[in-house]
Structure formats: structure tokens, C-alpha cells
């Protein structure tokens, strides 16, 4: 299945979402963010060139995998100063062939936009659902793909500049985790579920 078109939307959403996460979880100071309009709502986009390029490269390198519909999850891991994950924002992506009648009902893709908007809004209030993070956190982006994918990923010359590497085990597992579901996105383009795996005692890990 080819998802080359729909993945544009997904990637865009991911980029927006990652920026929003970084902002709402205060992983970077608010000063490096700027308010922008996306999906007709204000979102925060990072203006720091390094960070911005990192995010966009991350998202961009997802494309080949996403196009084939092989991405299971995209995870934004929030790491404590010690490097242990305290929060995981998990984007579970289910790409599926769209049902044709839906697009007829949504010729301008306005419903899609609405859904994306709702997604972003929910994400931007996620801090109220989560416990505060310790200061000095960093983040990493992980993806979960089927086993056969990583070799093809590294083989892809496009990814030579920005390769995906196997995640370190200690960065994957959240201690004493529980799930805080945030939003389920159901669109013609894909189904995306966002939930947070949150460590039970973030502060204690400090």
C-alpha cells in the first residue's frame, strides 16, 4: 500500500505535535518558540534553528517508512536529566485505506482539519493531565517499526545524513508507567492515537 500522499498530512501533524510537546512540557524555554497559526489555531513552533532542523529532519526521514505504511509508532521520549525516560508521547499510527464515501462528505478536507485541530488542542493542554517534569529534561524521537524495516532504513541513501539508530534500551522503558490517553484521531488519512506513558514517580528518579 502506498501512503505517499497521506503521509504528508501525517508528517506535518507530527512536526506540529512534536513542537507542541516540547513547548507544553517546557523541555525548552518558551523563548525559543514562536506562535504560529496552523490548522487555524495558534500553535507553538520552535525558532531555534538547530532544534528546528532536528525536528524537521526527524520527521522528514520518517517519510520513506511512513509511505509504506510501516511505522507503528512514533514516540517522543522525554528524558530526565539522568537520561531515563520519564514520559513517552506515543503516536500510534494506523494507516489504512480510506473509505471512499468519506472524502465525498469532506471535499474541502475541512473535517480533517478539524480533527487535526482537535488533536493539537488536546496536545497543548496535555500538561494539565500530566505531572510536572523535573527540570533539565531532554527529548528523543523514536519510532517503532516492524523488524524487517531497520535494514532498509539504513540502506536508504537519503537517510545517510540523518540515520536512525537502534534505541538504547534504557531510553525505551519508562519506569512504573501508566498510560494517559490524550487523543484518538480518526480520519480518512490515518488513525492516530496519542497517549502518554508517564512514569509514576518522575521526581524520584531525580
Amino acid at each position: 500500500m502506498d501512503f505517499s500522499v497521506s503521509c504528508d498530512i501525517v508528517l506535518e501533524l507530527l512536526e506540529v505535535a512534536i513542537n507542541l510537546i516540547l513547548y507544553t512540557r517546557e523541555i525548552y524555554p518558551p523563548a525559543v518558540f514562536q506562535r504560529r497559526k496552523k490548522y487555524s489555531i495558534p500553535v507553538q513552533m520552535c525558532v531555534h534553528p538547530g532544534l528546528r532542523s532536528y525536528i524537521s529532519e526527524c520527521v522528514g526521514s520518517l517519510r520513506p517508512v511512513l509511505e509504506k505504511g510501516e511505522v507503528e509508532r512514533v514516540v517522543v521520549v522525554v528524558l530526565s536529566p539522568e537520561g531515563t525516560p520519564v514520559e513517552k508521547f506515543v503516536f500510534e499510527i494506523t494507516q489504512h485505506a480510506a473509505r471512499p464515501h468519506n472524502i465525498k462528505q469532506d471535499p474541502q478536507l475541512s473535517r480533517l482539519e478539524e480533527a487535526l485541530r482537535a488533536f493539537c488542542l488536546k496536545l497543548s493542554i496535555s500538561d494539565s493531565l500530566l505531572q510536572p517534569l523535573p527540570s533539565g529534561c531532554s527529548f528523543a524521537v523514536q519510532i517503532h517499526v516492524p523488524e524487517h524495516v531497520p535494514p532498509t532504513l539504513s540502506a536508504n541513501p537519503q537517510n545517510q545524513e540523518f540515520p536512525w539508530v537502534e534505541a538504547e534500551k534504557e531510553q525505551v522503558e519508562v519506569k512504573e508507567p501508566h498510560i494517559v490517553p490524550l487523543k484518538t484521531l480518526r480520519t480518512e488519512v490515518c488513525r492516530m492515537q496519542l497517549y502518554v506513558e508517564e512514569s509514576g514517580n518522575k521526581m524520584q528518579t531525580e
Binding site: D8, G69, E72, T94, P100, I103, P146, I179, T184, Q193
Partner: protein
């Protein structure tokens, strides 16, 4: 009043008139009129030639002068005075004051102040009464004109008592069209008629004229200034009626406008011919003209070689230089027109709407002098400001785009690209325009007229002053069309490198032509011109040059009726003498600016540096001026034109009275734009509203009749998210733009809608929109279907194959395989209720080994048939590889074969046979293939078998009887039991047969037939009978979209229709099947299938255990390999849901189809394969199934159990409907609000929840987990939490805890992480 009476009176002209009702009034009126007439006669000496003739007044109330006085005036001046108002014959009501009710009652708008009479009397001629209207809802600008019928008309109307108001207007037209019989043509316009018939005045067509009742010559009301002695007849101006048909008040205005507007016509022709050229190119019929040319050239060469004219150009041509020809008809309109009026040859002729010597009438509110001055001033002001301005705005330099613009037949500021110089002529001849001269523009005039100073685009009035003998001729649109097409056809017969400019003008790139035909450009041009002259009878001129610019310049030199080759050697020199105004992009305005700087010729311009030019005129204009004046032009002859915008604009006759008028008009205009867009298959994303609004100080009435006068131009535009060509959208947007322009609709003088940023209908052009469009198409294309998956990716089909294959060897219903394969087929989706039942029942009977391949092959056939050949072969090869034998014969004639399925069902049978003898698999495989082949080959034979089968008949009867008893709900179970009884006999013989076959492997062919025969008893018979149905049911959406895309459109359509038809047939068939159980073929098929399967399962039971393990492993392995596991379940679910929905016995859920051999297996399968399955189903139905299948062989007892199970499940899970097919639901609801409501009610209604209820709830919650809808789960848990907290009920709390526990378990299974929930 007494209309009735009068009406009757007409018939009887009785003396007294008292005989009838109402007779008195009639008689009285008649008497009064008679009196009036006699008194007129008595004072006849006084009577002046009817100043008021044709006017019949009725005086109402006190007037100044009094009624008596008015009566006297009418008497003396040929008018009629009515004592009683008659709607029909009274033309005017004279009053100084009228109550509103009376005005309404009178229902006329000709209520005129008495001053009109006295003023007219004073003026000596009838004035326009509109000025004196007492009450009117019409704007004053709506002219109202009265015509004076002469005495004869008057008499006529009186005698016949016919309506006076329908004053016959007739006039003699000067004999422009002195064609055949008539010396003068009488135009008889009836006022009333002109309102509804298409504008007579527009058409000027002699044919239209109906000279009835002795057409009368009338002198136009307003031509008081024309000397009465003038022999040239007077032309009456189109009669204005209450709603002038030339204004927007007329509903048909727009279409009329477009059918009459000269410029519109011309401009559409330009576009039309561009299109035409493209068409010609695409046809590519070669160049038939070339042969003639070459022959001609040969002769010519001979002459030339005899020493006329050496051709110096040839060398340069061969030097790879381009040769462009610009060909232009000489005064096109005139030459075409002259074909009709050959007697006008040699006389000055002009083409125009109006007739020569016509006089405009003076209309109220019009101040021509003012307007002209205003124009002049404004133009000069603008010009000077432009000249002064340091940063000049670059005027449009793109003649092409301008040519697309449709403009009203109007004094337009922008100028029409046609006649550049006309601009200046307008003002130079301004002094010749007076109050009454015609403002009709001359579209084209011939060289004789031009000699006298007449120019194209001039107004007729001044032109006549310059050239009094100027003859006019009407437009001949058909002629233009005809000649243009001929012209293009001729040129296209030589080459296709044509750039159409307009109907009579084009650029031709001769480079290739002259090389391949070995002629000189001049030779060719001569030949071409001869040919054009010969065919069209119209002269044309041609200019040749190394580029388009020079070619065009050369044409100017060549005219009239000549040709000129601008020698490419001394371009700059050549250009030196050319006027700058001749350069493309240099219009009147730029020309004036240049002139003011002392630049008249290109030579002057050449003296300027590029820098200078660019700084003065802008970088682009400067650049182009710089190169053009040197004769440099790198534009290439482009035959394909990309339109940049499409617009419809009307600047003529726009007179709105209110907002809604404007809206209505915009609606029409939008419709026109849509038509044009669709004509060129484009959509636009930018909509521009162009308005001409009467300048503040401009007079209300324009100099030109219904023209736009002096206007401010306003343009507003809006960009759309998506390209559109729809009237609705355009209209909506335009109206909202209109609202932004806060102007009085009365002041609108021109309205135009332009759509730009065009892109193809398919959204081909770049930019963002394309992505959205393609997303859409992607989504639409993603009608993706399961069948596609199989067909598409070999790997997938392999997986399924593997699965089914292994299963069939196992001879066991492998739980995972059967649902998967059947889902994969996507058949279920469209299968009817019945067939569901059947498949289900057969599955229950642990017969998957037969059904699986069955369905497999069903797909094969459908899909294969639909596939293109190569693809089909590929798939077939793949299947062969898997051990399937594809009925090739069938495939070949499958299309159009009424029962193509017969053989399509063979493979499953064979498979079944296979599985039975799994001990000797390999040998059987070969048998199989043999069998298949024979089956294929002996299709006829094969088809015969079922008929003679007595067993079958028996079975059928038995079956139907039973069914009648049980109703079709219990059919499946009934079938099961029936099968038991029935199959044993057959089974035995069957096995024997097969064994026999195996033994005889050597002489396969013969025995294979036997086998086939036996098999066909079992299933293929019924299969065959029903296969048609089954196969047909597949919906169109299941056909691979990529495959569809690959085939031509017509084919796609065909396929689609075919599917539609089949579907209908199928549903119809199943419908009838349902109703009529005796004819239950579908049912029969299902039973047979089951029976068959049953048979197999019996025979192969021992092998089951052994094969089981590996097969599962294989299946899973294949799956993993084939695709990401994630996609699979979702997909499966989708497929399976229809099954569930349609089957009343709940068994169809994927898990359930599995066979009962082990109880542990279902679970395994559930997680590995259909992990999204709704939990309820499995838990409840599994035992039932197990039971039913295990006891299958025993007796009827299991039937009851199955039924019970069915009932149980169906009560829990109500029918699901499609929209959220894979959403989990609680007691049939899946919407958030509904679920909440349900939970709330439940929590509040019972204090102590039942265990089962809690179960249901927790199952629902866990299904949310498995369904990956954590958000909903979270919200619902929180909701439940709140509800439970509110109750303060311990039972509930524990229930809540239990539910949460369940959820957490599910979460752990699915996510290995627990959900964060609020503790109680």
C-alpha cells in the same frame, strides 16, 4: 371600467349600443370619441401635421393647463383625448397629482405631468415624456419613447379599434442592403413585439421584418433636426419599452448580449481558433496542401529561372533562420460582407450596427459634449500624469491576454487590441461628434473609406461627416465564421506551426515548411494568398520576417492585398521607419507618452539606451521596447496556448434598478463563465469582480445609447481554496465581493467576472491545490479493497495461498485461515444474507478445507476476469505455482460468458480430493491438475452432470420441505443435520471413486472424468448453478483501483456498469431465493458445500492432529513476512463485519468459524490473527460452535444448540451498521454520548449491578483497549468513575474496580502498560 362592454362592442357595431350589458358605456365612449373626431374635422384647418399623433391622453383630476385646454390641444395637434381611460388605447394619463391607489389601479407608468404637453407644444416636437413622468419606479434613465404614427396609422388604429399603444413603427432604411429585389427595406418594429422577440434592432436582419398592415414610414421622434426634405429615410431608434431589452432589465439580456456583441464575438473567435489549431494539430492528417504547393512551385520555378526574380532570401532561410509569416485578412469584416453585397465594391464601406445617416436621439440626462470632454480631460490627465510620473506603471504589454478579454461593445478605456490607432482617432475626430450623431462604432472599414479618413473604431456619426458617401453594412457573423475556418484550414493544410491570433490573423512558422517543400517564403506566400483569395473570395495580406514582430510589421507594409518580406539583414534599418505605435505592447497611452518624449518611429527609440527605457517605462516594458525597436523578437510561434484567465464582462446596457437585479445578473454572468471554463476544461482559483461604476460627476445617461459612459473601474478579487468552475461558487464569491464594493447598483455600468489562476479540471497544475486534489484522488482511489491486496501484491496472495493450502491438507477448519481467506476475498461484504448463512453453516461444519479454496477460487475468477491479460497471466502463474490449476479455457472466454463460474469452482473440489488423500499428496496433485484440465476441456460434459443426478433432486426436495418448516433462520442448522443423512451414501461412493482414480493414475484422463462426475454431484452442480450469482455479487469497489486506472476510461466505465448490473441481479436473485424456497439455489449450494466438506472431514479426520501445528506456524510466518502485522487485523475486521451483520446466527464472526478440534486453539488464533475481535463474540459463541461442530455427525440435537447459541449472541450484539463498522459498541451504541447515557442510566437505575452486566461493561471497555481507542476509554472510565462516585454504592465501587481490573489486564496485554485511572 367597462372593458367587457367595449370588448363586445367590437363585434357588433350596433347603432345604439344599448342592447347588451355594458352597452351604454361603450356607446357613450364611442359617441364621445366621435364627437371629438368631428370637432377635429371642424377645426381641420387648424390642424398641424400631428405633433401629438399617436398620443391618446386621458386627463385625470385637476391639471394645469386644464383638461379642456388639453383636449383642445390634442384636437389641434393630431392627438386623441379620451374621456374615459382605456388601458388599451390610452397612451398617456395626464395628471398633476394622483393618489397611490389610483396609480396602482391604472397599472401604467405613463402617468405624465401636463407640462409634457405644453412643453412639447412649445418645442414644436414631441419630447421624451419620461422626463415628465409623474410616478415611476423606473429610474429616469430608462428611456421611454413615443412614436408618432402617421395619419394612416392613426386611422387604422381607430377604425379597427385596435390598440393604439402598439404603435406600429416602421421606417425605411437607407439602401445599404440594396441587394436584390428591394430598393429599400422596411423595418417594421412593433413595440410590444420587440419586447419579447429577440432584438430586431440588433440583428438588422431583413428577414425579420414583417411588413404587415402596410408598413408605415414614420419620422423618428427625435430627428427634428433632420431636414424634412432629406430623402434618406429616417431610422427610428430601437423602441424603448418599459423594460428595455437592451438593458439588464431584460431577462434574456445576457444571452442576447453575447449573441450580438461584436467584440465578444471576435474575441471568442480568437480563442476558438486557438483551440481549433490545437485540434488540427492533434488530428495530424498530414499536410495535403503541400503537394499542390510543390507542384505549383515547380512551375513557378520554371518561370523564375526564365529570369523574373531571383530569390535572395533563400540562402538566409537555409541558414537556419526562422521565417515567420504573419497573415491577416484585409479589412476582414468588410471583405466578408462584400461577398454578399458585391455591388458595394469600390465604395467606402463600413461595418457597423447602425445604419449610415442614422441619428442618435437625444435622451434625457445625456450630455454628450460633457462626456466627451470628460473623456478627453481624463485621458489627458492620466496621460500627463503617467508621463510625469517617475515610476511609470507598465501598461499591459501582453496582447495575447488582452485578446482574451471580452469587452462590451463600448467606449472602453483599455482599448480593444484590434485597432490600436482607433484610440487616437476617436479624439481627433471628436470635434465631429455632435449631439445627434451616431455613436455606433465602426468595426471595420475598407481602404476606400480609410482614404477619406475613416478609421476602424470610429463612431459612425463623425465618420459620416468625413465621408458622407460611406455605406454601411451589417455584421455577418456566419460569414466571418465560414471564412475564418476556411482560412485556417488552408493554412493548416501546409503546416501546423500556427499561432492563432484572431479570426483573421495568425502567425505561421514557415521554417520547416519551406525547407521540406523547397520553396521560397515569397513563393509560398503568393501561393497561399492565391489560394485564400480563391477559396474565400477575400483578400489577405502577408508579411514575412525572421520573427513575429517583423512579420507583423511587414504585413502592415504589405497591406492592402499584398505581401512583403522584411529582409532580415538590416532589421534595425528596417525598423527605423516604423512607427512606435505599431510595436506590440505600445498602445495609445504608451504611444502618447513616447510621442511626448519625441519618439515617433522606432528609429527614435533605437537611439535610447536600454537603461533609459527601463527607467522610464519599467524594466519589462523598457526591455521589450528596446528589443522590439530593433526588430528583435524571440517570441516563438506557440500553437498551444495556456489561458491565464477566463472572464465574462458586460459593459453595455447595464442598468440595474436594485441590488437583486445585480445579483441576478451576476448569476447569469457566472453561468457564462462556467460555460467558458468548462469549454476549455479549466478551473480557476481566483475570482475577480470587475465593476464599472459611473463616475461621480458623469451624467446619468451616457452619450452612447446604453453605454457605460465615464466610469470608475473597480476590481476586487478573492482567492479560493480550491479551483472551481461552478456557477454557484463563482456567483457566491462574486456577490460577496459585490457587497464589499459599497456602491449603488444603479450606478453600475459594467460588470465582469474573471476567473484566473487556472488549472486543469483534474488539478494538473502545480501549487498547493494540487496536493489537496491529489489527496482527494488518493482517498478516492483508496477505494482500496481487499481483492486488490491479493491481486496486487503477490506476497500477500502467497500468504493466503499458503494458509489455505495448508489448511486444506489438514482437512480441518483452521481457525485462522478460514476467516482470513474469506475476508481476504472480500466476498462477504457483498454476499447476501443467504449466502452468508451458507458459508457460515459450511464452516461450522468444519468444512473449511472445501470452502476456503472455494472462495479463494471465486476471487480468482472474478478478479482474473477483470484483470488485463498480462496481469492475469501473472496471477495465474503465481497460483499455478501454489499448486492451483487455473481454468485457462474458461478465462479465455470468460468475458461475456454467461456462466463462467462453472469451471471456476472446480479447483476447490480438487483440493478437497487432495486433502482426503493427503497421504499420497504428490500423486494426487498431479491427478488434480489432470482433472482440472479435463474439466476445463470438457466443460460441456461437466455441465451435464448435475442434471441427471437424482440424488441431487432428492436432496433438494427434502431440503426445501425442511426449510419450509423451519424458516430460513434455522436453515444453516437444518442443513447441517440434513447433510448428515444425505451425505453418507454419497460419501461412500465418492470415496470409492476417488480411490479408484488414484489407483489409475496412469490412465488419468478417463478416470478423472469419473471423478469429476462424482465431485460434481457433490458440489459443483450446485456451485455451477449458483456460481453465477456468487461471482456477480462482488462490488465494484473491490476491483483494484490501480488496475482500473491502468485501463482506458471506457473500459472502466463498462466494468463499473457491469458490476452494478451484476449486483442488482444478484440481489434480485437472492431476494427471490429468500422468498421462494423451492427454488433456493443458493441454499442448495450452501448445503452441498457443507455436505461436501463434511464428507471430507470424515475421511480425513485422522490426519488432522498431525497437520495442525505446522499449518498454523506457516500461516503466521507468511503473514509476518508479507506485511506489517498491524494492517492486517484492521483490514480483516472490516471485511468480516458484513458477515456478522447479515447473519442472524452470530456464528460468522471470524473466530467462530474455526473448527473445534482443540479448545485452546481459538484463543491462540484470536490473538494472533484477529486480535481486534470483539471479545463478546468469542466467549459466547465458541462453545456453541464447538458443540455444533463436534456433534455434527450425530443428529439433529446440535441444531437446537446452534440455534440457541445464535439467539444468545444476537441478543448481545445487535446488528452493526456500516459507518463505524469496526467500533466497539455497548449494547448497540457506540457514540460517546449514547454510551454515556447508557452508563448513567444503568448506574442510577440499579443499585446492585448484575454480574453479567458488569461483564458486558468490562468487555466493552476492554474492546476499547483492543480497539486502540484509549481516548474514549479514558473518558468513559472517568465518566463511570464520576457516576459511581455519585452513587456512594459499595456494589458499584466494586463493580468499577472489577471493570478497571479487566481493563488493566487488557492494557497489559496490549500495551504492557497500565492505564492511569483514578483510584476509588
Amino acid at each position: 371600467m367597462s372593458g367587457r362592454g367595449r370588448g363586445r362592442r367590437r363585434g357588433h357595431n350596433s347603432v345604439t349600443g344599448f342592447e347588451e350589458a355594458g352597452g351604454y358605456m361603450a356607446a357613450k365612449i364611442a359617441k364621445l370619441q366621435n364627437q371629438f373626431k368631428t370637432s377635429v374635422v371642424s377645426s381641420a384647418g387648424e390642424q398641424r401635421q400631428g405633433l401629438f399623433s399617436g398620443v391618446a391622453i386621458f386627463v385625470n383630476g385637476y391639471t394645469e393647463p386644464t383638461g379642456e385646454e388639453l383636449k383642445r390641444i390634442m384636437m389641434t395637434h393630431g392627438g386623441i383625448y379620451h374621456h374615459y381611460y382605456s388601458r388599451r388605447s390610452t397612451t398617456h394619463i395626464i395628471a398633476s397629482n394622483l393618489p397611490d391607489s389610483k396609480v396602482k389601479n391604472l397599472n401604467t407608468n405613463r402617468i405624465v405631468s401636463p407640462k409634457w404637453i405644453s412643453d412639447s407644444l412649445q418645442a414644436g416636437h414631441l419630447l421624451d415624456y419620461t422626463k415628465y413622468l409623474l410616478y415611476t419606479n423606473q429610474s429616469k434613465s430608462q428611456p421611454k419613447l413615443q412614436f408618432k404614427p402617421n395619419n394612416k396609422a392613426e386611422r387604422d388604429s381607430q377604425n379597427s379599434a385596435s390598440s393604439l399603444s402598439s404603435t406600429d413603427v416602421a421606417d425605411e432604411i437607407p439602401c445599404v442592403m440594396k441587394s436584390n429585389e428591394e430598393n429599400s427595406i422596411k423595418l417594421n418594429t412593433e413595440i410590444k413585439k420587440s419586447r419579447d422577440t429577440d432584438s430586431v434592432n440588433f440583428k438588422d436582419s431583413p428577414e425579420n421584418q414583417n411588413s404587415n398592415d402596410g408598413s408605415v414610414t414614420v419620422s423618428s421622434v427625435s430627428d427634428a433636426k433632420v431636414p424634412s426634405g432629406s430623402t434618406s429615410a429616417k431610422v427610428s431608434i430601437p423602441s424603448p419599452s418599459t423594460s428595455h431589452h437592451m438593458s439588464t432589465a431584460n431577462p434574456g439580456f445576457l444571452s442576447e448580449f453575447y449573441s450580438n456583441s461584436r467584440l465578444h464575438h471576435i474575441s471568442t473567435m480568437g480563442a476558438m481558433f486557438k483551440q481549433y489549431v490545437t485540434e488540427l494539430q492533434s488530428k495530424d492528417e498530414g499536410f495535403p496542401g503541400r503537394k499542390g504547393l510543390m507542384e505549383w512551385a515547380k512551375n513557378q520555378d520554371g518561370e523564375i529561372s526564365l529570369g523574373t526574380d531571383a530569390t535572395p532570401v533563400t540562402t538566409t532561410i537555409k541558414g537556419k533562420k526562422r521565417t515567420i509569416m504573419h497573415i491577416d485578412m484585409d479589412c476582414f469584416f468588410v471583405s466578408v460582407g462584400l461577398r454578399k453585397y458585391p455591388e458595394l465594391h469600390g465604395k467606402p464601406v463600413a461595418v457597423t450596427h447602425a445604419r449610415s445617416t442614422s441619428q442618435g436621439q437625444v435622451r434625457e440626462g445625456m450630455d454628450r459634449r460633457y462626456e466627451l470632454n470628460y473623456y478627453k480631460e481624463r485621458a489627458e490627465k492620466r496621460l500627463s500624469s503617467k508621463i510625469r510620473s517617475i515610476k511609470p506603471s507598465s501598461p499591459a504589454i501582453n496582447p495575447e491576454t488582452e485578446a482574451f478579454e471580452e469587452e462590451g461593445n463600448e467606449l472602453s478605456e483599455n482599448g480593444t487590441k484590434q485597432e490600436g490607432p482607433s484610440r487616437s482617432s476617436r479624439f481627433s475626430t471628436m470635434s465631429l461628434i455632435d449631439e445627434s450623431s451616431s455613436m455606433s462604432e465602426i468595426a471595420s472599414c475598407n481602404y476606400e473609406a480609410r482614404k477619406a479618413g475613416v478609421k476602424n473604431g470610429m463612431f459612425l456619426g463623425p465618420a459620416l461627416k468625413l465621408c458622407p458617401e460611406l455605406q454601411t453594412m451589417p455584421y455577418d457573423f456566419e460569414g466571418y465564421n465560414e471564412v475564418s475556418y476556411k482560412l485556417y484550414d488552408i493554412v493548416a493544410s501546409f503546416t501546423h506551426d500556427i499561432e492563432a491570433v484572431s479570426c483573421d490573423e495568425m502567425y505561421v512558422d514557415l521554417t520547416e515548411l519551406i525547407q521540406s517543400c523547397r520553396v521560397t517564403p515569397l513563393q509560398f506566400t503568393t501561393y497561399l494568398r492565391q489560394k485564400v483569395q480563391g477559396v474565400t473570395n477575400c483578400p489577405c495580406s502577408a508579411g514575412l520576417g525572421p520573427n513575429m514582430l517583423v512579420a507583423r510589421m511587414a504585413t502592415r507594409t504589405a497591406k492592402p492585398n499584398g505581401q512583403h518580406l522584411a529582409a532580415p539583414g538590416d532589421l534595425a534599418e528596417y525598423m527605423k521607419d516604423q512607427k512606435v505605435t505599431g510595436l506590440p505592447g505600445v498602445g495609445w497611452s504608451l504611444g502618447r507618452r513616447l510621442e511626448s518624449e519625441g519618439v515617433v518611429t522606432c528609429g527614435d527609440l533605437q537611439a535610447r539606451s536600454l537603461r533609459q527605457l527601463q527607467s522610464t517605462y519599467g524594466s519589462r516594458t523598457g526591455q521589450s521596447l528596446y528589443s522590439y525597436c530593433r526588430g528583435l523578437d524571440d517570441r516563438s510561434v506557440k500553437s498551444e496556448h495556456v489561458r491565464k484567465s477566463v472572464s465574462a464582462e458586460v459593459n453595455y446596457g447595464i442598468r440595474f434598478t436594485c441590488e437583486s437585479d445585480a445579483h441576478k445578473f451576476i448569476n447569469e454572468l457566472a453561468g457564462e463563465v462556467e460555460r467558458r471554463l468548462t469549454a476549455i476544461k479549466m478551473k480557476g482559483r481566483c475570482i475577480t469582480l470587475k465593476l464599472k461604476i459611473r463616475a461621480k460627476d458623469a451624467p446619468v445617461e451616457t452619450a452612447k445609447f446604453m453605454g457605460h459612459g465615464v466610469c470608475d473601474n473597480v476590481a476586487k478579487s478573492v482567492s479560493l481554496a480550491m479551483a472551481t468552475s461552478l456557477t454557484d461558487v463563482i456567483e457566491r464569491e462574486t456577490i460577496s465581493l459585490l457587497r464589499q464594493v459599497k456602491a449603488n447598483p444603479q450606478d453600475f455600468r459594467g460588470v465582469g467576472i474573471q476567473v484566473s489562476r487556472l488549472e486543469g479540471q483534474s488539478g494538473s497544475s502545480a501549487s498547493k491545490s494540487s496536493s489537496s486534489a491529489s489527496i482527494k484522488s488518493f482517498l478516492l482511489g483508496a477505494k482500496a479493497n481487499p481483492v486488490k491486496k491479493i491481486v496486487d501484491s503477490n506476497s500477500e496472495s502467497k500468504i493466503v495461498n499458503e494458509l489455505t493450502l495448508s489448511k486444506s491438507f489438514m482437512l480441518d477448519t483452521s481457525r485462522s485461515a478460514s476467516p482470513k481467506s474469506c475476508e481476504a476475498t472480500g466476498l462477504e461484504k457483498t454476499l447476501t444474507n443467504k449466502s452468508h448463512l451458507e458459508t457460515n453453516s459450511s464452516k461450522k461444519a468444519s468444512s473449511s478445507s472445501s470452502t476456503v479454496p472455494d472462495e479463494k477460487n471465486k476471487i480468482d475468477m472474478e478478479v482474473l476476469q477483470a484483470l488485463p491479460k498480462e496481469m492475469r497471466e501473472q496471477v495465474i502463474a503465481e497460483y499455478r505455482h501454489q499448486g492451483y490449476v487455473i481454468p485457462t479455457l474458461m478465462l479465455n472466454d470468460s468475458i461475456g460468458d454467461p456462466q463462467p463460474s462453472t469451471s471456476g469452482y472446480c479447483p476447490p473440489l480438487k483440493k478437497a480430493v487432495n486433502s482426503e488423500f493427503n497421504s499420497s499428496q504428490s500423486s494426487i496433485m498431479s491427478v488434480d491438475s489432470e482433472l482440472k484440465r479435463t474439466v476445463m476441456n470438457d466443460k460441456d460434459l461437466f455441465e451435464d452432470y448435475p442434471h441427471g443426478n437424482e440424488d441431487m433432486m432428492n436432496f433438494r426436495q427434502e431440503n426445501s420441505a425442511l426449510e419450509e418448516k423451519k424458516g430460513h433462520e434455522s436453515k444453516s442448522s437444518a442443513v447441517l443435520s440434513l447433510i448428515e443423512d444425505f451425505s453418507s451414501g454419497l460419501r461412500n461412493s465418492f470415496i470409492v471413486d476417488v480411490q479408484k482414480n488414484i489407483q489409475n493414475t496412469g490412465k488419468k484422463s478417463g478416470s478423472a472424468l469419473n471423478l469429476v462426475e462424482d465431485l460434481s454431484h457433490g458440489s459443483s452442480n450446485s456451485v455451477a448453478s449458483d456460481a453465477g450469482n456468487e461471482m456477480l455479487i462482488t462490488s465494484f469497489s473491490q476491483v483494484d483501483s490501480s488496475f482500473l486506472n491502468a485501463i482506458p476510461e471506457e473500459l472502466q466505465e463498462e466494468i463499473r456498469q457491469d458490476f452494478e448490473r451484476r449486483k442488482q441481479e444478484a440481489s434480485a436473485a437472492s431476494e427471490s431465493v429468500k422468498d421462494d424456497k423451492h427454488l433456493d439455489r443458493a441454499g442448495l449450494w450452501g448445503k452441498m458445500d457443507t455436505r461436501q466438506a463434511q464428507t471430507e472431514s470424515h475421511t480425513t479426520l485422522p490426519s488432522r492432529g498431525r497437520m495442525e501445528g505446522p499449518s498454523i506456524r506457516r500461516g503466521q510466518g507468511g503473514r509476518k513476512r508479507g506485511r506489517p502485522p498491524k494492517n492486517r487485523p484492521v483490514w480483516q475486521r472490516t471485511r468480516s463485519s458484513p458477515t456478522k451483520r447479515s447473519s442472524p446466527t452470530k456464528k460468522s464472526s471470524p473466530t467462530k468459524k474455526s473448527s473445534p478440534t482443540t479448545h485452546t486453539r481459538p484463543k491462540k488464533v484470536r490473538f494472533s490473527v484477529s486480535d481486534e475481535d470483539v471479545a463478546e463474540n468469542t466467549s459466547i459463541t465458541n462453545p456453541a460452535i464447538d458443540q455444533s461442530s463436534t456433534h455434527l455427525n450425530n443428529d439433529m440435537s446440535n441444531q437446537a444448540i446452534t440455534k440457541e447459541a445464535a439467539a444468545a449472541t444476537s441478543s448481545i450484539i445487535p446488528d452493526q451498521d456500516t459507518p463505524h463498522e469496526d467500533e466497539p459498541e455497548l449494547c448497540g451504541v457506540h457514540k460517546m454520548s449514547e454510551v454515556k447515557l447508557l452508563i448513567r442510566e444503568w448506574v442510577f437505575s440499579c443499585s446492585c449491578p448484575e454480574v453479567e452486566d458488569a461483564d458486558i461493561l468490562s468487555r466493552f471497555y476492554t474492546s476499547l483497549v483492543t480497539h486502540r481507542d484509549l481516548e474514549k476509554l479514558d473518558l468513559l472510565i472517568k465518566f463511570l468513575y464520576r457516576q459511581v462516585l455519585k452513587t456512594h454504592n459499595m456494589h458499584w465501587k466494586s463493580t468499577y474496580k472489577a471493570v478497571i481490573e479487566e481493563v488493566q489486564t487488557a492494557m497489559m496485554e496490549k500495551y504492557t502498560v497500565k492505564l492511569k485511572v483514578a483510584p476509588l
